[in-house]
Symmetry: C2
Subunit: 351 residues, 2 copies
């Protein structure tokens, strides 16, 4: 079968590899669509990061490059391994793409997403969604019912956003600022609106701001607006209950810490390439909770329900659909050169 | 009456001022003992900080320097204003030394300690514990029963520690690291032990470490120990559930972020003089909650009960007792020149 495999930075190849065989307890899935994630872009430009280094195989998958990429995928069940129940051949599914040890203290505490040896399918081995077929343990396979398979490929990044909202403790009565409207920021705004939260988005790119305006209650551009002051105006003087830092930019983190009300919550969603400079006195004097959020845990069922109930419409987030051969030329390159107008590029491994 | 009044940095004077008169709804208290706080030291060295600037009176007290100092005090009820109930003349009490507006959003949400115009008695006006008599609104007066009045003067800093523990969500099953064993760090360790938490203290000063050894389950000295590694050894490999940063030092904050387990909580207790450099990736990948804590709110009754039940012994924290005339020479100067062997210096305004 064909697969997009990471060999090294700037070296992703479309190759023929043996199709994986189903084993007891696993499910073979014919991939329908696979999204390209910002993480994939980082691996392409600067990897290996979450991909194991050459000569340093991942402790659970025992694989090192080349590895197949793609962790945001939907597909159709092709074959069930011995002992698998609750799934049927032909069913539409998505995959929670984890490889975990089940043995470390976070795993035993139920925080499998914080497994000390965690691997991600599509980065650390065990195949990936940028190939025709994937075989995964049945525990990670979630049926999506009649959600169209292209939209279903966005369940994975939507779960990232959903888990960030869970970490925030948001309720329908909350007010929130989403600072940064990249794909995760936009999906976060969609989750917040889906559960009834009054949502303000700040973003510097006009193209992204236009996308956000279709979702959020208010949009602010830091170029024109003193964001924290405007947020206070929009919230009766108090500031928002919750701020989400989705940019990984120090000025944005400062703005979010400024824009939340006393006793508010700031969730850091973004990945940081370097240390941040933080005004600890603001955290102390306002008694802010600054919470990290990583991936998702036990989130997929809720996320799938939100989409099935029509509370989140994923169709507008799909900005192009390409074939596997074009992963680099029309996928990664587009996200690198013009990442403002693209939200999610989907890849079909059979196109 | 005599009072120690802040005029400017390095200018605290013992002066004769009119004794305050009781008004309806207030209580006159004859001060027994008043502790000298690190905040007082900062005001003396670099103030005005929490003291209003000259020509910029506090918005609620309408006072500017000179102001009477002292916010950690105990005393005896001398006179009750009209309408005051539930208190009796001659009763031992302590004061929660707040001046709040009751009108801002945090006040209305019950977070009076985060009042946007907050003032502290003994810093922002309305007198202070470094004088013979104080008159305060009855809502802030808490009877202490038979707790000796010298120990009762430590209820206020103990409330700071107690509130930090409340913010952490600690339970008797928790493990905790207290990083920094100044007065608040030591009191924090005492509160943690008082509620049954397994407590590790790290501290670089040998004198403070010796004090901590009488309270904590384990003490570590960063000069000799790789603190985060030792904390993992002491907690079965996981790291502590909760870390308290009580030093305001960047290396210490790094250690605490390293020493907590995945999904752990870090409470920043210290006051920072400058911005901190924070490894946001650690907060993200371990899903840490970094929580600020400020002063106390609705804490005094619980704190007084802990002391009355004998779960915290405050006597060892009192390292000297001096008269009002010696506030600078034997009080502030000692804390500045030799702050390692002193924990709490108490001042009697009538000695």
């Amino acid at each position: 079968m064909r697969a997009a495999r990471f060999h090294a930075a700037h070296d992703i190849r479309i190759e023929n590899v043996p199709a994986p065989a189903v084993r007891p307890g696993t499910v073979a899935i014919d991939v329908a669509w696979c999204g390209i994630c910002g993480t994939d872009v980082h691996e392409y430009l600067e990897g290996p990061i979450f991909v194991p280094a050459a000569n340093s195989p991942h402790p659970l998958t025992h694989e090192a490059p080349p590895v197949t990429l793609g962790h945001e995928f939907s597909g159709v069940v092709a074959e069930l391994g011995e002992g698998v129940e609750g799934l049927s051949v032909g069913e539409s599914v998505v995959v929670e793409p984890y490889v975990v040890c089940d043995d470390c203290l976070p795993c035993k505490a139920g925080n499998y997403h914080l497994c000390t040896r965690i691997g991600v399918i599509g980065l650390a081995g065990h195949g990936g969604g940028l190939s025709e077929r994937v075989v995964v343990e049945s525990r990670w396979v979630h049926p999506v019912g009649d959600i169209p398979l292209d939209q279903a490929a966005l369940i994975e990044p939507l779960a990232v956003a959903y888990h960030a909202v869970q970490r925030s403790g948001a309720t329908p009565e909350s007010t929130a600022l989403v600072a940064g409207a990249g794909p995760v920021g936009l999906l976060l705004a969609a989750v917040l609106k889906g559960i009834g939260v009054t949502t303000i988005v700040s973003e510097i790119s006009a193209a992204r701001l236009a996308q956000a305006a279709d979702i959020a209650d208010h949009v602010l551009n830091p170029t024109d607006d003193a964001v924290a002051d405007r947020v206070r105006e929009l919230t009766g003087g108090s500031g928002v209950d919750i701020g989400f830092e989705c940019a990984g930019v120090n000025d944005v983190l400062d703005t979010v810490l400024d824009a939340v009300r006393p006793a508010g919550v700031v969730v850091n969603v973004s990945i940081w390439g370097s240390r941040a400079s933080v005004d600890m006195q603001k955290i102390v004097l306002k008694e802010i909770d600054l919470r990290g959020t990583f991936a998702y845990v036990n989130s997929h069922k809720d996320v799938i329900s939100l989409v099935q109930e029509g509370r989140i419409d994923l169709a507008p987030f799909i900005t192009s659909q390409i074939g596997l051969s074009d992963v680099v030329s029309k996928g990664l390159t587009t996200l690198i050169e013009d990442n403002e107008s693209s939200i999610k590029i989907l890849v079909s491994p059979t196109m």
